[in-house]
């Protein structure tokens, strides 16, 4: 199946490793993607007018007849919300009145879901099973809310994926809690406290790595981790990987392809440990 890939604005800045690892994993798994033509910003969490937000999403969705895949949970949530709203004839008419290419219908998928489908249990392409690696499954908000495919309260898809890579999901109480990201510029203290709470919780749960599905969660937990450690006077030191990076490691892809050197907290210790374990076993 071929998909239109919607990279989102962060793919060109703070989320470069999300974009690189998504493309690399898709290639490795034979998932055919073509970049969505002339895509625009989805509005993230900063467009308060719902009709405008719907219009921005509709323009993206009208660019292709293919199912649309994104690795960003914010883009994903916005497109799915718009898809629901556009089922109302009045909304559809108002939006289509301003669009060049008219919106008809769309199928929106998160990269996580596409990857899981393309990589069955016991897939032989998993050349580096992550046996014994303790992973905190961090969903954040917008993969499951509001109109996701998954349970908004008790999602399990990340645990399923982690187990498929033969790693071990830890029991993580804050797995669906917010990272504070959307308010980190104007309300820094509030956002910092929330993000640090997630990191502390992951540490207490014994996680060796946190896996995320959202570039804003990643920014808060990885890019800000050292700053937060200094502010709070407590060491965390847990690498935070995009789900596509974790999958890519298990598929034996190289650190350059997966953008692993772009992470602030280096995940290379985890990669080396996995290779050592494999060498000892064989």
């Amino acid at each position: 199946m071929k998909l239109a890939y919607y990279p989102g604005c962060v793919s060109q800045s703070t989320g470069k490793e999300m974009d690189a690892s998504t493309r690399a994993v898709c290639t490795a798994l034979g998932i055919e993607i073509e970049e969505l033509a002339d895509w625009n910003c989805c509005g993230a969490t900063h467009v308060s007018n719902e009709l405008v937000a719907t219009g921005l999403a509709a323009r993206n969705m009208a660019q292709t007849d293919l199912p649309i895949m994104t690795a960003c949970s914010i883009c994903y949530s916005n497109l799915r919300t718009a898809e629901e709203r556009l089922k109302e004839p009045e909304v559809l008419a108002r939006v289509n009145a301003v669009l060049d290419k008219k919106y008809r219908e769309a199928e929106v998928r998160h990269a996580l879901d596409v990857i899981l489908e393309a990589m069955p249990d016991g897939d032989e392409r998993i050349v580096l099973p992550l046996k014994g690696l303790l992973v905190a499954p961090y969903y954040g908000c917008l993969l499951t809310r509001p109109a996701g495919l998954y349970s908004a309260e008790f999602p399990v898809i990340l645990e399923t994926l982690i187990k498929r890579l033969e790693a071990e999901p830890v029991d993580f109480r804050k797995k669906t809690a917010c990272c504070g990201g959307p308010i980190f510029m104007p309300q820094e203290k509030a956002a910092d406290d929330i993000a640090f709470g997630i990191l502390s919780e992951a540490k207490q749960a014994g996680a060796e790595v946190i896996v995320t599905v959202c570039p804003l969660c990643h920014l808060m937990l990885d890019a800000k981790q050292k700053i937060l450690e200094q502010k709070k006077g407590e060491k965390i030191g847990i690498p935070v990987l995009y789900v596509t990076q974790l999958v890519g490691i298990a598929l034996g892809l190289g650190p350059e392809e997966l953008g692993l050197f772009m992470n602030t907290v280096s995940p290379m210790g985890i990669v080396e440990k996995a290779y050592e374990r494999m060498a000892n076993e064989s």
Binding site: G15, V98, P146, C178, P186
Partner: protein, 178 residues
Amino acid sequence: MPEDKRDDKAFKNEVLRLAGSEALTCIQCGTCSASCPTANLMNPSIRKLIKLCLEGRRDEALHNETLWLCTSCLLCTVRCPRGIRPKAVVSALKEIAGREEKKSKDASYEELFVKQIEQNGRIAELPLTAEFLLVFPQGMVSSMQMGLELLPKGKIGIEIDKIRGKDEVKRIIEELRG
């Protein structure tokens, strides 16, 4: 009319128009406040904010930190037993606050964000941050800290990417607003 009974019906109706009339069915159970990650910092709480809207108390509903402490996490929205979308009420209030002359730093951030989309079709984080710091210079130190983390990793996008359909995007924002 006594001071505490001011009821701005036009304001209430505008909130309901933007956020959905189901807000009228709010029973003040507080599930939204109990679910909110920043509830401890909010005054009024999200529950009270909805009540303020329903009582047409425009000033108190519009001019508070609560609106800007909302992280858009949507827990309130998936949990509300009445099917109300409290986050949509917050968005409606932000929209109305954005129409006012004098804007808070938070409202300015949203305005700059939308302005960037309007101009280019996409967001470039560096120019957005730079513009915001002109409004809110107190954010300079932490922005520099972040920059020092991101710059050596090549994760600061300096170029502004303009899309071909930027005029269409501008039209979407101009014509669907309101």
